[in-house]
């Protein structure tokens, strides 16, 4: 594990963390959109 590996690991980790959070948000947004559709239909 020479120094560069640590560097890339840190950068990749940063985007992995942000990516995971954005993925969670996307899934939550999809669920909300589905609820809105359901409410519109039966509202």
């Amino acid at each position: 594990m020479n120094a560069n590996h640590y560097l890339y690991a840190a950068y990749i980790a940063t985007w992995a963390i942000h990516g995971t959070y954005l993925y969670i948000l996307a899934r939550k947004a999809a669920r909300v959109r589905k609820d809105i559709e359901r409410l519109k239909r039966s509202g």
């Binding site: 120094a3 980790a13 963390i17 942000h18 948000l25």
Partner: protein, 227 residues
């Protein structure tokens, strides 16, 4: 509104890629630590953005306690959540940096430890919001946020003095700060702030939609009730 959002998204993407390029190529290699020092351009700006978000959370919480405005409550929730994400980045990149340079995964460095404690406080803030069964969850969260903010100076001084008694390597201080490095640091900071702004905006709109859905579902049976 929609146009503003996409503009910001594009700007953020450009800024982030340029900042990445700057961090990896433009910035000079630091003599003592070599390339691994470039983690500095992600580690330190992320910490600054995290602290800014927690500051926004504190201000929004105080504003909620005074004015009880739902907007302030949603802003407090959003800034806490995104703040924790940036904090996690700091807590992961810190040890990855410390390992090759000092051979240790963790050091009670002042800023790193402060970030850890803030991370613990704001995770407990998010857990309280999730587990609360009270109809006044925003109020409880705002109170906890104020307690958290009151804690920060005490945490700072306790760790500062603790470090003077147990000296430990400093993350982020270390190498000489060449002016070009300063610029690259600034690019990254701005890029990360744009990212934070973008994510907060999305999360804010999502929360507003979520609450609207909850409300209409709750009132849905109002329609049934009023037949």
């Amino acid at each position: 509104m929609k146009r503003g959002f996409t503009l910001l998204a594009i700007a953020t993407a450009l800024l982030l890629s340029f900042a990445l390029y700057a961090a990896l190529v433009i910035a000079p290699t630091e003599q003592t630590m070599g390339n691994v020092q470039r983690i500095f351009y992600y580690h330190v700006p992320s910490a600054w953005v995290a602290f800014e978000l927690f500051l926004i959370n504190f201000v929004a919480s105080v504003f909620y306690l005074i004015r009880r405005s739902t907007k302030a409550d949603i802003l407090a929730l959003v800034s806490a959540e995104v703040g924790v994400v940036f904090c996690t980045v700091v807590l992961i990149t810190g040890p990855i940096w410390a390992r090759p340079v000092w051979g240790i995964w963790w050091t009670w460095d002042l800023r790193l430890t402060l970030t850890l404690v803030l991370w613990l406080i704001y995770v407990s803030y998010l857990v309280l919001r999730r587990f609360s069964t009270s109809s006044q969850t925003p109020l409880l969260a705002a109170v906890l946020a104020v307690f958290g903010a009151l804690d920060v100076p005490l945490v700072y001084f306790s760790i500062w003095f603790f470090r003077t008694q147990h000296p430990a390597p400093v993350i982020g201080g270390g190498g000489s700060l060449d002016p070009r490095m300063g610029w690259v640091l600034l690019y990254n900071w701005i890029a990360f702030m744009c990212l934070a702004w973008l994510v907060c905006w999305t999360r804010y709109r999502l929360e507003v939609a979520q609450r609207a859905v909850h409300e209409s579902e709750a009132m849905q049976s109002l329609m049934e009730g009023a037949r």
